[in-house]
């Protein structure tokens, strides 16, 4: 009765089948509540004006985009160590969600940058390392797409994910050294100096929660489809041989 039993595709399908609907509802609630609250019940920022409200999409998506990669890293390690197909397929599914989130963060950021910094894009460390993260996602996904033997693909992408993570951290430092940026610091950090004022804080938390749950849902669904595809292929192969 270990937790690993859910690494069995079939068992996983059963379990996730139960989780998904529930998670969907909760995330929907959080998102609607958070975004509504954020957009209609909070005052405009005194210096940013109403543009500040992009934060409710920008920050959550950015957070998810980054943490999705961590999740992929763990999943890849699990695959390499314990050879559980579910984990690597989950990683694959997560990459698709992650890349979209990254794109959203980039675009909302750019939209925000225009009024705030008067430019769509600046080679600010945060932004730059995000662009790099985006490239990592693209590479990971492309590698999956390029290899037809699923197991080989799983192995290779996992190694790439691990090596990539190391280099991602490395380039984060490199970029920081390369350019001191104008981008916000961590707004969730607890010291008051950094902290965005409470009015924005709680709705932000809500929508972050919503985004995270959304990520979970999408990843689960993606994994389920991946598994189903493999099942279908397997059954088909059994049919015609």
């Amino acid at each position: 009765m270990s937790l690993w039993q859910y690494a069995n595709p079939v068992k996983f399908l059963h379990l996730s089948g139960k989780i998904v609907p529930l998670a969907t509802v909760v995330s929907a609630v959080c998102l609607i509540a958070g975004l509504y609250w954020g957009y209609f019940l909070t005052p405009d920022d005194y210096k940013q004006g109403s543009t500040v409200k992009i934060i409710y999409i920008h920050v959550p998506s950015a957070l998810v985009a980054i943490n999705a990669w961590f999740m992929m890293l763990v999943a890849s390690l699990i695959w390499l160590v314990r050879r559980h197909h579910v984990s690597v397929l989950a990683s694959k599914a997560a990459s698709h969600v992650g890349v979209v989130m990254t794109l959203i963060a980039l675009i909302t950021g750019a939209l925000w940058g225009q009024p705030m910094w008067g430019t769509w894009w600046a080679w600010d460390p945060r932004l730059t390392s995000f662009l790099i993260l985006f490239l990592f996602y693209l590479g990971y996904i492309a590698l999956w797409a390029a290899i037809d033997n699923p197991d080989t693909a799983a192995d290779l992408t996992s190694v790439l994910c691990i090596v990539g993570s190391v280099f991602a951290v490395l380039s984060r430092y490199a970029v920081n050294f390369w350019n001191q940026g104008l981008h916000q610091g961590a707004s969730l950090s607890m010291d008051k100096a950094e902290h965005v004022s409470d009015v924005f804080y709680y709705p932000l938390l809500l929508s972050i929660a919503g985004f995270i749950l959304l990520f979970v849902v999408l990843t689960l669904v993606g994994t389920r489809t991946e598994i189903r595809q493999r099942r279908a292929k397997a059954l088909l192969a059994r049919e015609r041989g």
């Binding site: 290779l156 090596v163 990539g164 430092y173």
Partner: protein, 218 residues
């Protein structure tokens, strides 16, 4: 091992072996930039170190897919895989050969091309240093990417896409080193980091590359 190294070097030297390829490409980039950016020497000499580094990196990037692709297509790689050579040995030799036929020439060529971009006096020394310290990392990282994409038909595109983000830290520190050096600023940090990257990468990555190569040849 030695035999493999010698063969690869020889292949590179022979006509069409792509020994000149990277050099030529380096030259092309550096020659084209003034046409594109415009002739003002002030501007050019400001961007010179950066352009030289970017050019060298691109030249490196383009020569990567020759590391394994040729041997794979003509079946040599299958034979090497069944040969007594360990995969680690193969990848190490391959990246060494790649550096000798690509990185080294680039290092030597850079100052010459620096003239075209009006690189300031002090720059020459630092361009050579930064490239000499940095290019080995490029070769080793590139070998990893090449090993990942062995067997993928015409994986050239994928290869560059995979390697690009991996190259970023090296490029940043390398170019930063060259630029600071040229402007006479303190260079210790980037030099230290660049050397660090090269050492670390050369020590670790070959194992990853070997693992990946084995996966691909099984």
């Amino acid at each position: 091992m030695i035999a493999l190294l010698i063969r690869d070097l020889r292949l590179a030297m022979r006509a069409g072996g792509g020994f000149g390829l990277s050099l030529a490409f380096f030259l092309i980039v550096v020659v084209l930039v003034p046409f594109g950016v415009g002739p003002e020497m002030g501007l050019l000499s400001r961007i010179a170190p950066g352009i030289l580094w970017v050019g060298a990196l691109l030249a490196c990037l383009l020569s990567l897919d020759r590391i394994f692709a040729l041997d794979f297509e003509d079946g040599s790689l299958d034979l090497l895989a069944t040969s007594p050579l360990p995969a680690e040995g193969i990848v190490t030799i391959k990246s060494l050969a790649h550096w000798l036929t690509t990185g080294l020439p680039l290092v030597l060529m850079a100052p010459v091309l620096g003239v075209l971009l009006g690189l300031p006096e002090r720059g020459y020394y630092w361009i050579i240093v930064s490239l000499a310290v940095g290019t080995p990392a490029l070769s080793v990282i590139g070998t990893f990417g090449a090993a990942l994409t062995v067997g993928i038909k015409r994986g050239g595109l994928l290869l560059s896409l995979l390697v690009l983000p991996l190259y970023v830290p090296t490029l940043i520190y390398g170019a930063e080193l060259a630029r600071r050096g040229t402007q006479g600023m303190d260079t210790s940090t980037p030099l230290f980091m660049l050397a660090g990257i090269t050492c670390a990468v050369t020590a670790m990555l070959p194992f990853a590359s070997a693992a990946v190569l084995r996966i691909n040849l099984r």
